[in-house]
């Protein structure tokens, strides 16, 4: 019972960790560069969850001030994650542009085939 309670209390963190580890696994294990970039984006969004979860207060509302409410969630992680999302999409765009260039140079976006071609030269 106590284990179940602690699972419910930390469920956000466990899912965050699962997403983070899956992102890491995709980045390392998959050879396709587009898939790698999606893995990187997943890793990033797990970090959003990691920041936003502790900022929530049970019974609080979104941090838009109104006389009807007294308890608000913490606005600081929200600000930081807004910045992180935009930077994340900038990273993704740059990575995808590089992928397109690599595809033109090698005719493939799979790491194995690129390495094979490099070794042949």
């Amino acid at each position: 019972m106590q284990a179940l309670q602690s699972l419910a209390d930390n469920y956000n963190y466990f899912i965050t960790i699962f997403l983070m580890v899956s992102g890491l696994y995709i980045v390392i294990a998959r050879g396709n560069m587009i898939k790698k970039l999606i893995g990187l984006a997943m890793f990033q969004s797990s970090v959003y969850l990691l920041y936003l979860s502790p900022g929530k207060i049970v019974g609080g509302t979104a941090p838009v001030l109104d006389p009807a409410f007294t308890v608000y969630s913490n606005p600081l992680p929200h600000v930081l994650m807004l910045t992180a999302i935009v930077v994340g999409v900038a990273t993704l765009a740059l990575g995808l542009a590089l992928t397109v260039r690599i595809y033109e140079a090698y005719g493939t976006v799979n790491e194995d085939q690129i390495f094979a071609r490099d070794n042949k030269k």
């Binding site: 209390d9 930390n10 469920y11 956000n12 963190y13 466990f14 899912i15 960790i17 699962f18 983070m20 580890v21 899956s22 890491l24 995709i26 390392i28 294990a29 050879g31 396709n32 587009i34 970039l37 999606i38 984006a41 997943m42 969004s45 969850l49 936003l52 979860s53 502790p54 900022g55 929530k56 207060i57 019974g59 509302t61 979104a62 941090p63 838009v64 308890v71 608000y72 969630s73 913490n74 606005p75 600081l76 992680p77 600000v79 807004l82 910045t83 999302i85 935009v86 994340g88 999409v89 900038a90 993704l92 765009a93 740059l94 995808l96 397109v100 260039r101 033109e104 976006v109 194995d112």
Partner: protein, 203 residues
């Protein structure tokens, strides 16, 4: 909680799917689920940005790249034991780390008692904007936002430089017509991305 479980399910689907178009669609689903989770966590501004930037612009960029490259992931030769081990060890370390985390939804943790009350209490009389996230983003942490704009500008310039060299080399070959059109669509997304970024700051 259900949303979080769905997120995990979508993640497993992304790992297993090898058709890259499916992966891109699933990552759009993932972003929307993430935005819903953010609404539950009271982060409405972040949810809005995630839905527009994460699910919108990222998907468009990924689809444009898929159009320019092959849409099929080939199977790797060796079995992925080493990455699996690395991921599991990292995961175990992180789960161990959650033992020190505060209980979900608790109000008496250091992050809620340190600087946040000051933002919540002073921002309306001093700045006059009811949305605290906007106030902090544009006033208290304005330099952060400035740095963010610089990052977006640099990334946009990088994309433009990378893809411009492409057009010149393609012009020599007569077959590159179709690809050039797609490239035009893509470079159009870059300024759009910048405007969304500035909109996100305003949000």
């Amino acid at each position: 909680m259900i949303l979080l479980t769905l997120l995990a399910a979508v993640t497993i689907a992304i790992i297993q799917q090898r058709e890259l178009f499916g992966v891109v669609v699933l990552s759009g689903v993932y972003s929307f689920l993430m935005a819903s989770v953010m609404i539950v966590l009271d982060a409405v501004d972040v949810a809005m940005t995630e839905a527009s930037v994460g699910a919108g612009i990222s998907t468009v960029l990924l689809l444009a790249t898929l159009h320019l490259t092959k849409a099929r992931e080939s199977r790797r030769l060796q079995r992925p034991y080493i990455p699996l081990a690395v991921a599991l060890i990292t995961g175990a370390a992180l789960v161990w780390g959650t033992q020190g985390m505060p209980k979900f939804g608790a109000a008496n943790t250091p992050m809620h008692t340190h600087v946040a009350p000051r933002y919540l209490k002073d921002s309306l009389p001093v700045m006059g904007v009811p949305n605290v996230v906007t106030t902090v983003l544009a006033n208290y942490r304005g330099f952060d936002t400035f740095g963010e704009v610089t990052v977006v500008l640099t990334a946009g310039l990088g994309v433009m430089i990378l893809l411009r060299g492409r057009r010149k080399s393609k012009k020599k070959k007569p077959k590159g017509k179709d690809k050039n059109k797609a490239k035009g669509a893509k470079s159009k997304t870059s300024p759009a991305q910048t405007t969304t970024a500035s909109r996100a700051e305003g949000a």
